[in-house]
C-alpha cells in the first residue's frame, strides 16, 4: 500500500480517526506521518489554521477535490483550502462532502438548531412536523396499530412533497 499523502513511499503508519461515529482512515509513510503528527499538535483548536484542518483527516481525493467548484460563485474548493474562507452561501452545498467532517470537527455538530430567518421558518416547521409524525409512526408499529401506521405514513409522504415544493419555489424565486 502506498502513502496517501506523497503517493510514493510504502505506507507503514495507519491512522484511524473516529469523530461522531464517522471513521476516516489514513495510510501514511514514515516521513509523512511525522509531518502529520507535528501538524496535529499545531492545528488543535486554532481557527487560523483552518485551511490546514480542512485537509487533515479527509481522504486524499486530489483529482475530485481539485475540480470542485461552486456553481453559484465559481469559488473552488482549492481556493477555500488556501484562504480558509468560502466564496458564498451556496459553497456550503457545493463542498458539502468535505465541509461536513470539517464542521463536525470545529463545532462537534453538523446540524443547526436555533434561530431561522422568516423565510426558512415554514420549512423548518414542516421538517419538525415530519420528525414528530415519524416517532408516532414508530410507536404505532410497535403497538401493531397498522391502520394508524398507514395513515401516518401517508401524512409523512404528503408533508415531504410539500417541503420539496417549498424548496423548489425558493430556488426559483
Amino acid at each position: 500500500m502506498v502513502c496517501d499523502v506523497c503517493g510514493k513511499s510504502e505506507a507503514t503508519v495507519h491512522l484511524t480517526e473516529i469523530i461522531n461515529n464517522e471513521v476516516t482512515k489514513l495510510h501514511l509513510c514514515e516521513t509523512c506521518a511525522r509531518e502529520k503528527a507535528s501538524e496535529m499538535e499545531e492545528h488543535f483548536g486554532l481557527a487560523e489554521l483552518l485551511s490546514g484542518l480542512a485537509d487533515f483527516g479527509v481522504q486524499v481525493e486530489s483529482e475530485e477535490m481539485t475540480k470542485l467548484k461552486c456553481p453559484n460563485c465559481g469559488f473552488t474548493y482549492m481556493d477555500f483550502k488556501k484562504i480558509g474562507r468560502l466564496g458564498c452561501g451556496e459553497c456550503y452545498e457545493a463542498f458539502k462532502k468535505n465541509l461536513t467532517p470539517l464542521l463536525k470537527r470545529i463545532h462537534g455538530a453538523d446540524q443547526h438548531y436555533g434561530k431561522a430567518p422568516i423565510k426558512a421558518q415554514k420549512i423548518i416547521k414542516v421538517r419538525d412536523d415530519i420528525q414528530d409524525i415519524k416517532s408516532r409512526l414508530q410507536k404505532a408499529i410497535t403497538m401493531e396499530e397498522f391502520e394508524e401506521a398507514a395513515r401516518l405514513r401517508d401524512e409523512i409522504k404528503e408533508l415531504e412533497k410539500k417541503m420539496t415544493r417549498k424548496k423548489d419555489k425558493d430556488e426559483n424565486r
Binding site: 468560502l86 452561501g89 436555533g114
Partner: protein, 348 residues
C-alpha cells in the same frame, strides 16, 4: 456622522452601571449575517459590494430599531478616525484595512454598531455595560428580526446562517465578555482557570481581540462553538460558566483583602502617585497602572477615584483619542506627554 461628536462623550457601556461591573467591563454579542446568493465580501465584485452597502442604508431607513443611527462609508473617515473607531470598539481592526466598499452603522449611544462588508456582509454588534448577556441577546435578536424584513439572509436548514468562515456558521453568534481579573492573576489561579475554560469550548483573548496580549489583567472571553445549539442555550451555558469565574475572582479579592491589605494598599497608592505625577507615559504602562487603580477602587481601597473616571482614562489615553483631542497628528513621544497630562488632569 461626526466623529468629533463621539469624542466628548462617554460610550454607554463605559458608564459602569451594569451588573457585576467591578469584574465585567462589558458584554458584547455579535451576529454574522450575509445576503442570500451574493458572494461573501472578499469574493464579491464592486457592484455586488455596492449592493450590500445600499441594503445597509435601506435597513437603516426602514427599521425602527436603528432609528437615530447613522451610516458612513469607511472612505468618509480619515485614517485617524478609523483608528479612533477601533479604539472605541465600534469596529474591528480588520475593518480599517482596504476601506473601499466598507461601511459602518453607529447608533449614538454606541450600544449598536454594524460593520458592512467586513468578513461577512453584516456584522451586527451590541455592547452593554457589565455582565448582561440576556439584555444584549434580547436587543440583537430584535435587530436581526427587523433587518431580516428587508434583507434576505443566507441560511440553510442544515447549517444555519451561512458565513464566510465555517467557524461562525450556524447561529453566527459570538458572545464575549471583557473581564478584569487581577485577583485571579495575583493569586496565580488564572492559568488553571483559562485552561479549564478552553476545554469547555470558550476562547480567551487579549484586550483588542484576536491575537492581542492580555495587558493589565484584562481578558476577552467568548464562546467558540456556533453550530448545533440554539442561541439561548449557548448564552445560558456561557452565563453559568462565567458566573463561576466572577465568583472565583470575588473570592480571590476577599482573601487578598484579608491577608494582604497593607501590602496591597501600599502598591495601589504608589501607583496612584506615579499616575498623578508622571510627565511621560506609554500606553502599555497606562493600561498596567490603571489596572491597579481599577482594582483599588473596586476593593474600596482607593476612594478618591470613580470607576467612570477610570474607564474614561482607559479610552481617552489611547493614541487616536489623544490625537483627536489635540486635533493633530502627534509623534509617539508627543503622545506619551499628552497622555500623562490628561491622566493628571482626570485624577486631580
Amino acid at each position: 456622522m461626526k466623529i468629533d461628536d463621539l469624542l466628548n462623550k462617554t460610550s454607554e457601556w463605559l458608564k459602569a452601571t451594569g451588573p457585576n461591573s467591578d469584574v465585567v467591563i462589558s458584554t458584547r454579542i455579535r451576529l454574522a449575517r450575509n445576503v442570500d446568493k451574493v458572494p461573501f465580501s472578499h469574493w464579491a465584485n464592486k457592484k455586488q459590494k455596492e449592493e450590500i452597502l445600499s441594503l445597509a442604508e435601506e435597513a437603516l431607513e426602514k427599521t425602527n430599531i436603528l432609528k437615530g443611527a447613522s451610516y458612513s462609508r469607511m472612505t468618509d473617515f480619515s485614517e485617524l478616525d478609523r483608528q479612533f473607531l477601533i479604539e472605541r470598539h465600534l469596529m474591528s481592526p480588520e475593518h480599517a484595512f482596504d476601506p473601499e466598499y466598507k461601511g459602518l452603522i453607529i447608533e449614538p449611544r454606541e450600544i449598536i454598531s454594524i460593520m458592512v462588508n467586513e468578513e461577512d456582509h453584516f456584522r451586527i454588534q451590541v455592547v452593554q455595560s457589565g455582565f448582561n448577556l440576556r439584555d444584549a441577546w434580547g436587543l440583537i435578536n430584535k435587530i436581526d428580526n427587523e433587518t431580516n424584513e428587508i434583507i434576505n439572509y443566507s441560511y440553510s436548514v442544515k447549517w444555519g446562517y451561512l458565513t464566510a468562515c465555517p467557524t461562525n456558521a450556524g447561529t453566527g453568534m459570538r458572545a464575549s465578555l471583557m473581564m478584569h481579573l487581577p485577583a485571579l492573576v495575583m493569586t496565580k489561579q488564572i492559568n488553571k482557570m483559562l485552561q479549564a475554560l478552553t476545554k469547555l469550548g470558550i476562547a480567551v483573548r487579549g484586550l483588542y481581540g484576536e491575537g492581542t496580549e492580555a495587558l493589565g489583567n484584562f481578558f476577552q472571553i467568548s464562546n467558540q462553538v456556533t453550530l448545533g445549539r440554539p442561541e439561548e442555550d449557548i448564552i445560558g451555558n456561557f452565563e453559568r460558566i462565567m458566573n463561576k469565574v466572577i465568583m472565583r475572582e470575588a473570592q480571590a479579592r476577599r482573601s487578598l483583602l484579608m491577608k494582604e491589605k497593607e501590602a496591597l494598599s501600599d502598591k495601589i497608592y504608589r501607583t496612584y502617585g506615579t499616575l498623578k505625577n508622571a510627565r511621560i507615559i506609554t500606553s502599555n504602562e497606562t493600561i498596567n497602572l490603571m489596572s491597579s487603580i481599577r482594582f483599588g477602587v473596586n476593593m474600596g481601597i482607593l476612594a478618591d477615584v470613580s470607576i467612570k473616571t477610570v474607564n474614561e482614562i482607559f479610552i481617552m489615553s489611547q493614541p487616536a483619542h489623544l490625537q483627536k483631542l489635540e486635533n493633530k497628528i502627534l509623534t509617539s513621544d508627543q503622545r506619551d506627554m499628552k497622555r500623562a497630562d490628561i491622566i493628571r488632569e482626570k485624577l486631580k
